[in-house]
Structures are given as structure tokens and as C-alpha cells.
Symmetry: C2
Amino acid sequence: MDRRVKKSRQALFDAFTKLMVEHPFQKLSIAMVTKEADVNRGTFYLHFKDKFELREQCIDMHLTQLMTSCAGGIKEEFTSKKAMLTTFDYLNDNAAFYKVMLTGEDNTFFRKRMEEILKVGLSDFIESKTIKDPIDKEIMIQATISAGAGLIEWWLTTKTDLEPSYLVERFWGIINVER
Amino acid sequence: MDRRVKKSRQALFDAFTKLMVEHPFQKLSIAMVTKEADVNRGTFYLHFKDKFELREQCIDMHLTQLMTSCAGGIKEEFTSKKAMLTTFDYLNDNAAFYKVMLTGEDNTFFRKRMEEILKVGLSDFIESKTIKDPIDKEIMIQATISAGAGLIEWWLTTKTDLEPSYLVERFWGIINVER
DNA sequence: TTAGATATGTTGCTTAATGAACATTTTAAA
DNA sequence: TTTAAAATGTTCATTAAGCAACATATCTAA
């Protein structure tokens, strides 16, 4: 993709992410976003139809990054835990945005997409476990997803300033209990 | 100035500033800089003749910012001290770069420009003091410049991780002794 | 309700930046 | 010293982004 396209889109995503933390979505204007992004207003329309499309694509961008940070380290050995830490670090860095997206009014789209992503990320992890029975494996996956999603949501919304590493340590312990 | 020009130039300045901390100037290639800046190599030549010109303009950019941070707060009341803190904060943020530029081989241009800038910044400050005799005033200016330059150089090159606010406090005390 | 301001889409034209190619020149290693 | 790799400086056609202007549309306060 052309460098310029990447930069413009990224600038708009960054601006949207920042502004969403400070203002309700409904109050955001395209002019506001383009000003923050330091791009011409016309440039916006080269990439998005309206602010709803921007939001959708911005969410997708975030969740794709989240997924990448999950799957990214899998190749290396003993990195599942490390990959998980990377993920939690990413979440932590964008905590304000995720919190808004999780607790805001129009959060259905976000929650659904987030669970899909989580499923992909955690399934890979579960695969590595040698659970023979397919039903048992599915149960394990579902339980882990729910646990992960719930933990993340609790963490981001209550925001007790818990260190990502601490969270990972506990979560790791929970999902790796010998059964 | 066209937005695109500003961004390209800034990207190249940032890249150069970053790379100068890690490599000697002589080892820097234009290809390296443009890659770090994430701009097309051809774009470089739209703005600079060679890497020497980039260095020169990059230094000027930094020192102009330094000067601005000196003069910036003067308008408000009681802000000379605040302006000074802003300046020291800026220096601190770019400590690595300034250190290189101060201690590197080709530092003559940098040192000369830096003293010019300092003189402008500190002269304004000295003006506010009611020293009648022009000779005495000039003495005060020269002494203050030398003290400031020396202090900054010592601070940046030895880098004992001293807080900018601490430095400002001391320097403020030194140049404001009742005489 | 109305008037003034602000936001929205869209346009035409201009320009900076892009990627790819090319012939040199420089650098570094065999 | 020779040779391959990397860096340079330049060209070209293409395209994204820029700016300004415009007519609507929406919001907000008098």
C-alpha cells in the first residue's frame, strides 16, 4: 500500500482513538478528527464515508493489532506466556480507548469482534494442550475465552492500575492448573 | 507551508536526530535516514542537497525550538522561571542528541549557533533587570551566558540524571543574587 | 422562530510524494 | 586488486494529499 495512504489512515485512526477518550462519539465531528490528525478534511473522504465507517475500521485496526500481538510470539518456543504479556501490555497502553469502547453505548459491535479475536488467539493456545476428546477441548476453549474476556473487561473497566505482568501471571496460573 | 512539506521535513529531522544518537554522522547514509523516516528516498532530495545540509537544518530546527521555549513564556507574568524550566525540560527530552552534538567531532557549528541562541534568550531576561550602567549590564549578560552555557554543557555531558527543575532552581538562585 | 455559526459533502486545480528504474560512484570484502 | 554490494543522484509517470471554494445541512443561542 502506498506510504501516504498508510500514514493518512493511521493519523486518522490515532486522532479518533485519542478523541474518543475525551468526547462521546456523538459529539465528534469529522472536522475535529481531521484537525487532530493534521490532515486535510477532504482527505478523510478519500478513505471513509462517514465517522461511523471510521469507527468501524478503527476498531478493526485495534483488534487486528490485538490479535497479532496474541499470535505474534507463538512461533518461538516457550513464548505463549510472553505473547500473552505482549497482548496485555498492548491493552494497557490503550486502556482508555478500550474502556470507552467496552462501556460506551454502541459497544455491541466492539464486544462481538473482540470475542471473535480472543477466540482465535486463545484457540491456538489451547491447541497446544493435548486434550484428546474434542468435546473436552471445546469446553476448555469456551471456559478459557470467557475467563479471559471477563478478566480483561474487569481489568480495563475497574482499572486498579494492576501491572500487566501480574495479570498474566495469575491468568496463566488459572488456565494451566493440572486437571 | 504545505502540510506535506512540514511532515516530510519533520520526519527526516526526527530520523536524523534519532540516528545521530546511535551512529557517528559519518556512518549515516541518506538511505538509512529516509528508511527510518519512512519517506521515499527521492523525497530527501526535494528538501536537502546532501546529509550535511540535513544536519545543518536539523540543528537549526532544534535551536530554534530551544529559543522559542526560552522566549515563549516571557509575555506572561512571573514566567521567566517557568520559561527557563520549559527550556531545560526540552533539553532534557533531547539530551542524547544534544550531548552528541556538543561532544561530537564537528561540533563547532553547533556550539556557535547554540551560544547565539542562548544570548538572545538570556538577554531578554537580563533586560528585565534594572541595571542602569550599560557596561555593567553587558558584564551581567556575558557572565550569565557563560554560566548558562557551561551549566548546560556540564549537565548534558556528565548527565547525572539531575531533574530539570532542580537545575533551574539552582541556576535561578545563582543569577538572582542581590548584588 | 430566526439568524449566525459550524459542519458536511463535493468539486476543480495544483503540487508534493511515491515507486521504479537507471547510470554512476563509493564501500567493503575476498 | 578485483568484484559484488550498497549508496548516490537523477529521471519519469502516476497518484494521494493539499487548498480553496461552494451549496447544503445541522446545530445553537438570541
